[in-house]
Assembly symmetry: C2
Homo-oligomer: 241 residues x 2
Amino acid sequence: MTSSTTSSTINGTTKTWQAIQAEVRKRINARLWKPGALIPHEADLALEFGCARATVNRALRGLAEEGLLTRQRRAGTRVALNPVRHARFEIPVIRSEIEGRGQSFGFAILKRETLVPPPDVRARLKTGAKVALLHLETLYTADGAPHVFEDRWINLAAVPSIDEETFVTISPNEWLVREVPFDGGDFTFSALAATSKQAALLACELGQGLLVLDRSTHNAQAVVTSVRLIFHAGYRMHTQI
Amino acid sequence: MTSSTTSSTINGTTKTWQAIQAEVRKRINARLWKPGALIPHEADLALEFGCARATVNRALRGLAEEGLLTRQRRAGTRVALNPVRHARFEIPVIRSEIEGRGQSFGFAILKRETLVPPPDVRARLKTGAKVALLHLETLYTADGAPHVFEDRWINLAAVPSIDEETFVTISPNEWLVREVPFDGGDFTFSALAATSKQAALLACELGQGLLVLDRSTHNAQAVVTSVRLIFHAGYRMHTQI
DNA sequence: GAGTGGTCTAGACCACGTT
DNA sequence: ACGTGGTCTAGACCACTCT
């Protein structure tokens, strides 16, 4: 038997950090280490598992990042009281999402203008009262059917070269992902009932519930873009942990 | 000046893994290393930065987990073509969320019954056609105002001791988090327009858009619980990356 | 076959918060 | 003050995969 997978337990003596992590998980689930309780030091565990302390550290760090453990310098490591689970969902790159389902992707620029935005948009982008921004309205389609309506404002100061882009072959979404590096962003999920305009755009009935994702992305200097995505009726955004 | 923070650059010679990570980020953002391009080996970088290879590894591993880099054994490390950003948002523990805003938390069990569920719920929980489950309907309130309506099914086989719980002092949500360890789950965001029943429960107008979160959690053995949360009108779920 | 990332070790020093 | 996690090192071997 040449069974030597990456995570292995050798005669009960744990070696890899994955195996140690699994063992710790087991003890937590079995309530051997109860929520809120202190678990042994890294040094003790290293001794028990017959490995280096760094290996134990690697295992426990992962569990702490998951939220299963709470670690503090002098205080030691505790089992988290409420396992604060972090869901990690991928930010949908619209084209990949559609083509990944085997559908054909399309988009149409409905509006393109440069003007001083309304106050709420100014607040989100943190721009002055007289600064004009690029405003784009785009409809993305899957197999020709409306998929999502995008209402986007772009900070021209942060993305000067966008003036030369016509968005004939590449969508605003992809162009920005490709051309503008960003450090972070805010995401907000909400819901609304379709107005007549939205119902017409997204080919749904008046008043249907629509999922909305507001998102603004920024880099070190400024807020680059703020966008509202209104998805077609029945759209579900799915993720796992 | 005693400026010795955790992430520091010493005379241009980078030492900590955080500093190395920041430097690599800078080079990617500055397009010094372009998307899709191969970056130097760990060994080379270690030499350049004057540190051990393990330190470089630590820095690059983090960036790979973020999705900014793609690493393969023999092939080397590349800058990711489409920075597949994944947002990491905390699963809201309802009580913490409400109390964290300084509001008072409350809940009321509206329905409690044990019966064989409809087919769609059976499918989600992967239970047989004759297996009875616990069904709970709960309304959570913030400062007395409706916050979220919870429609939950619980697999009694996975959580036997729940029959003795009256949910007078602890909500179903918290009880499950506390008593049942779980390994993973599915999350689905969607939206609906309030029915008259929902409008009455959540004190909103008929037809308002409501955010919906469907979630099922499982452990190694079985699906433990499946729940639909319907949030009050105007609710926004926010996260950052 | 050979090169690259993945991991482990044994030891060391440091940062930080509890005591 | 002191104990615990956080990190770094220098070296080693392994796993994977591209050529």
